[in-house]
């Protein structure tokens, strides 16, 4: 029983990590319908900002997280103005190509700036170690990830579904011309949404360093992980990717624990099965 609960906890925490590193993509790809394969580059930027702040200037981890968000969001705004804006109406293929190009450039820049080795990250002692609860070992950092992820999901859902800004975003994505006619400043809405998506990527990257590591190949290495959460969850909501990430996380951890012989196949097999059963994703857009 204790081991079952332990597996469930680890799985949920791992799923939440998957959600956190891909939630930015569920904004740019899921909401804005922009195939932003450079999502991982923004995540990597967040990771490097976090590590560099902590290492070189002794900034505490919790203070480095918002900095990672801001840095990636600022980079997002700049790139949106210079580049992305021109591609909103272009084909998905052109979007793929331009964002892959950005990924290559980001890899080279990261190698130049930080070298090709893994970056060290030291968690503060308050987030290290574990608590024991009814015989289940609860890793503190994983609890932290669960709390951060759940809060983010709540805030994002609220903003998108209950606020004026959220309505403006949905309207702009559905029909930019009509939205413009209704007085919504579509360009600004897109810019802000894109910045939030990139900021979330940066935050996810910073939170992910502890588990995923950080080196210049980060944006390519985990591209499948980012995409699979959004694809399985379905585009257009935050709920979908969240459910998908948690489901995949639990399945992956349980599979590796109970059936280690097939560990490598579980995540991908479940992804393929889910997509065959629900081609539009778990939470399909109405």
């Amino acid at each position: 029983m204790a081991s079952l609960l332990g597996v469930l906890f680890d799985g949920l925490a791992y799923g939440m990590l998957l959600f956190l590193v891909s939630v930015g993509l569920s904004v740019t790809l899921g909401l804005m319908n922009f195939v932003n394969l450079a999502h991982g580059a923004f995540a990597m930027l967040g990771g490097y900002v976090c590590v560099a702040l902590m290492q070189r200037w002794g900034v505490p981890f919790l203070a480095a997280l918002p900095a990672a968000f801001i840095a990636a969001a600022v980079a997002g705004v700049i790139l949106e103005r210079v580049l992305y804006r021109r591609f909103y109406r272009r084909s998905h293929l052109d979007q793929v190509l331009v964002t892959i190009g950005l990924v290559f450039m980001a890899i080279a820049v990261a190698t130049w700036a930080f070298g090709s080795q893994q970056q060290p990250l030291r968690l503060p002692s308050t987030l290290a170690g574990q608590w024991s609860l009814f015989g289940v070992d609860l890793n503190v950092y994983r609890c932290f990830l669960l709390v951060v992820g759940a809060s983010l999901a709540v805030v994002l859902t609220f903003v998108l579904e209950r606020t004026r800004f959220g309505a403006a975003v949905r309207a702009s994505v559905d029909d930019a011309r009509v939205a413009e006619a209704l007085g919504i400043r579509v360009a600004l809405v897109f810019q802000l949404t894109f910045a939030v998506g990139c900021g979330l990527a940066g935050l996810g990257g910073a939170l992910g360093v502890e588990v995923l590591g950080l080196d210049p190949t980060f944006p390519l290495k985990y591209i499948v992980y980012f995409l699979l959460v959004v694809a399985v969850g379905g585009t257009g909501s935050v709920k979908g990717p969240l459910f998908a990430a948690l489901l995949l996380g639990v399945a992956d951890v349980a599979g590796k624990y109970y059936l280690p012989q097939v560990g490598a196949f579980i995540l991908y097999a479940i992804m393929v099965l889910l997509l065959i059963v629900r081609p539009q994703g778990l939470v399909a857009r109405a």
């Binding site: 790809l29 580049l83 021109r86 591609f87 272009r90 084909s91 998905h92 293929l93 052109d94 793929v96 190509l97 331009v98 892959i100 190009g101 950005l102 990924v103 290559f104 450039m105 980001a106 890899i107 080279a108 820049v109 190698t111 130049w112 390519l220 591209i223 499948v224 995409l227 699979l228 959004v230 694809a231 399985v232 585009t235 490598a264 196949f265 991908y268 097999a269 992804m271 393929v272 997509l275 065959i276 081609p279 539009q280 994703g281």
Partner: protein, 319 residues
């Protein structure tokens, strides 16, 4: 217009045939560009003509590569029959998996194909006793072509062999996309619902083109194995599928020659940039990609067509 197109096509293949004198010291690279071009052509059939976005096409390339490799490692080193067998096996793999990829949105198809590709990679890694795992398959010995032409270090035999095979398959693909079948495919790409409404068996069409595409990809993989005389897990890697997508879009999807142009530009740029700057060449490659998309739509060929004023024979916007 039509006649000028034909002249251009003839010139394209003649230049390639003259490669023996035009770039005698670059034949190994040229062979690999042609192989990548064939692979990209196979991908063009499903992406450019049928509109199936995939990031797992290396699966069929890999099936072909390993089939040829395993045959050669177990005593069947005759290249041409090995090539045909590899193509057929890849076609079979395509036929079996086609029902899975003909449904859903772009993103769904993208991730299903990615998943299948990754599963196959893991399987090949797990079956190390058969495939050699990450160390690669050892003992691949390909016999001389027609029992006489050795695969030499200058890559002459390999280049001639690859060029001939690629040309034959190109003719087949060209025939296919200009047939009524090819026209239906473009119709499906433009509007599947309407095609269904006029009585077209959409799923069957897609399955057929997917199978043929898989066969071409398999032959490309087999060519790589036979000319390298080695096969490793990288033939199945996600990176190969992703590079394929980049090559085709760089060249221009749905234009038949886009794959070759894209493969040539991408690989030659890659080759020279990485010789000039072995550490940071990726930056320049990335910058080049961004620039290409900024300057033109539909890749280099699309740009070329607009410059030359050639009427584009294709329907609808890219997916």
């Amino acid at each position: 217009m039509r006649v000028r197109g034909l002249w251009l096509e003839a010139a394209f293949w003649l230049v390639l045939a003259a490669g023996f004198v035009l770039w005698p010291s670059r034949l190994p690279l040229a062979s690999q560009v042609l192989i990548a071009g064939l692979f990209a052509l196979s991908y063009d059939l499903i992406l450019g003509y049928a509109g199936i976005l995939s990031l797992g096409h290396a699966a069929y390339f890999g099936v072909g590569a390993y089939s040829a490799g395993l045959l050669a490692a177990h005593g069947w080193g005759e290249p041409i029959s090995g090539l045909i067998a590899a193509g057929l096996l890849a076609a079979l793999a395509g036929l079996i998996t086609s029902p899975l990829v003909v449904r859903g949105t772009d993103l769904t198809r993208l991730m299903i194909t990615t998943g299948l590709g990754l599963l196959l990679f893991e399987l090949a890694n797990r079956l190390g006793a058969i495939t050699g795992g990450v160390d690669g398959l050892q003992g691949v010995e390909v016999q001389p072509l027609f029992g006489a032409l050795r695969f030499d270090i200058y890559g002459r035999t390999a280049y001639g062999y690859v060029l001939a095979v690629v040309f034959v398959l190109f003719l087949a693909a060209r025939r296919l996309v200009r047939s009524p079948f090819g026209l239906s495919l473009r119709g499906i790409r433009g509007n599947p619902a309407r095609m269904r409404a006029i009585g077209c068996r959409v799923d069957l069409h897609l399955a057929a083109v997917y199978t043929f595409s898989a066969a071409c990809a398999g032959v490309a993989g087999a060519l790589l194995t036979q000319t390298t005389q080695f096969v490793g897990l990288d033939v199945l890697s996600f990176g190969r599928s992703a590079e394929l997508l980049v090559m085709l879009i760089v060249g221009g999807a749905g234009l038949l020659y886009g794959g070759f142009i894209g493969a040539a530009v991408f690989m030659i740029a890659h080759h020279y940039l990485s010789s000039l700057d072995p550490v940071y060449w990726q930056f320049w490659l990335g910058a080049g990609l961004v620039l290409i998309v900024l300057v033109g739509r539909d890749g280099i060929l699309g740009l070329g067509h607009r410059v030359l004023g050639v009427r584009r024979r294709r329907a609808g916007p890219a997916p």
